[in-house]
Amino acid sequence: MTDIRTVDQATAPATEQRVPSSSRWWVLGAVVLFALALPSARFLGSYNYVLQLATIAFMWIALASSWNILGGYTGYISLGHNVFYGVGGYVAGMLLLELGWSPFVTAPLAGLVAMALGLVAGLITYRAHGTSFIISTVAMLLVVTLLMDNWSYLGGSNGLSLPLPGFDVSWLKVPFYYAMLVAAIGAVILGHRVQHSKFGLALRAIASDEVKAEMAGINTRKYKVMAFAISAFFPGVVGALWGYSLSYLRPVIFLIIAVAARMVLMSIVGGRGTVAGPVIGAVLIIAIDEASVSLLGSSELNLAVTGLLLVVTLLFFPLGIVGTLREHNRLPAWLDWD
């Protein structure tokens, strides 16, 4: 084990000397309590817009944090991770249509199916490194899109309509809100567990130098495939919830590459390979999205803004917000969740 620790320290020297602080627990606790209490604002007036925005933010926190397990810790960039998001949506949607099972119940199952698919994808691509790996994830996305577009049982490119849940309309958004909140917290905790496990150590060793990691006795193949599978779970879960909340499923909702780009962008803007990074990135990008759509009034230009943010971040702060602040020892304790 000593060898792996050396590799790890080379990549993250700062983590060892961190001063333990309780302030982050206060801040995190306050945020979670606020999030839990937010739907009660319903009694004050119509807060559907705020609830919807928060639900979307939770979903992206779960997506970006999951992407980060493979793209951040392991250093394997997937540009096709929305495949698992789509699979989750369709698995839960079909279970609802065929068997009448509520996606609120089947969401974890959809996550497991996505995970199984992640395992298969990992087994196909584990021999590819760096660029070939990235290209194979793009190809995976296009293969799945082609299948979904032409699979008549799943509605093809026209998609499927799902029945709405039988709640009172004015409270309709609340169960989705809580379910996404649980998924987001789950994904962040998963990221934190991975970060602090021997498994996460192995992933970071792979990210810093795969050949050395292999030499140090890490079964890199096994760990990469596992990272791929684990990072597919929560996208499946939130895909199931999101499809149900829209009440229809269509390949373009889940499978356009812009969805994958979002996951990548959020993790990179926030800071790849950190626990807090994808969360900060997701909240920031959702806020910028809302602002840019209302200011520019066009979703096409919003796409260009997404691209521009990615380029600017890579050119000027390749470590992202959390990574850059940490490098300069300016990271406030409440943002240091590692």
Partner: protein, 290 residues
């Protein structure tokens, strides 16, 4: 349709794909840059040809004299402004993938906004015509496109083989550090090579403007196909890109005839996955440096 007919259509298509992929593989070979925006630039060039055709009635084959130099200059400018900044980063290639991924979205967003998402195509008379040979037919549009592609590829090969700069480019492809040591101005060679890669995108754009209908978001489909055949041929190998393009286009044309046109792209991705499992460095690739 006879099998020979399918073969002919596949080869013509492959010729165009080979040109589209050649710029991509050149950039990777010389600079280790993976340009995910390559197809987006091709679509941009196709729009340039389209507007020259619609606005001034200029034939897309003639518009090559505009798109090629414009994209050559554009390429050199992009290389000089962006890439020196990230040259020293430890995971340079991965960085270029993400950076050009961003470029692709910028281009797609701007094109969708200002050129709209309507299907476009330049329609010179030869694009709807065909040469009939017995029971075979050869669509002239695709034939001209394939011939022009072949001319560009031969010119590229001759440039790399017989000119001093081309010599420097090949030296840089083989070993960047060693080329620098023996006195190749790697920076200048890279700038020129980047310009040439983009000029090839400019040429491909003018050709596809009458071969395929195009719209801004179509580039994802193309880049995935191009990257698949570049990986298949071996990243950075021009010979690999051409062989991969012709081979896969022929197979996909058979798939398209016998199984269904929508499944044709699966050929490229299926071949990519097979290659990754069997020989990850590709047909003509050097063992990857991790």
């Amino acid at each position: 349709m006879t099998q020979v007919q399918v073969l002919i259509l596949g080869l013509l298509l492959g010729g165009v794909y080979a040109l589209m992929a050649s710029g991509l593989t050149l950039l990777f070979g010389v600079m280790r840059v993976v340009n995910l925006a390559h197809a987006a630039f091709i679509v941009l060039a196709a729009f340039l040809s389209f507007f020259l055709w619609e606005g001034a009635g200029i034939d897309p084959l003639v518009s090559l004299v505009v798109t090629v130099p414009v994209f050559f200059l554009l390429g050199m400018a992009i290389y000089r402004t962006v890439f020196p900044r990230i040259e020293g980063s430890p995971r340079f290639t991965e960085m270029t993938v993400l950076m050009t991924f961003g470029f692709a979205f910028i281009l797609e967003g701007l094109m969708s906004k200002y050129f709209t998402g309507i299907f476009r195509q330049t329609k010179p008379p030869y694009a709807q015509d065909a040469i009939i040979l017995g029971d075979l037919y050869v669509p002239t549009g695709q034939l001209y496109a394939a011939i022009t592609s072949a001319v560009f590829l031969v010119a590229l090969w001759a440039f790399l083989k017989y000119t001093r700069t081309g010599y420097g480019v090949r030296a840089t492809m083989q070993n960047r550090d060693a080329a620098q040591l023996v006195g190749v101005d790697v920076r200048r060679v890279s700038t020129v090579a980047f310009g040439m890669g983009m000029a090839l995108a400019g040429a491909a754009g003018a050709l596809i403007s009458f071969v395929f209908p195009f719209y801004p978001s179509r580039h994802w489909q193309w880049i995935a196909i191009l990257l698949s055949l570049v990986v298949l041929g071996g990243m950075g190998s021009l010979k690999g890109a051409v062989v991969g393009a012709l081979g896969l286009a022929v197979i996909s044309s058979f798939v398209s005839t016998h199984i269904g046109a929508v499944w044709a792209p699966i050929t490229f991705f299926g071949a990519l996955f097979l290659m990754l499992m069997v020989k990850p460095e590709g047909l003509f690739g050097k063992k990857a440096r991790a």
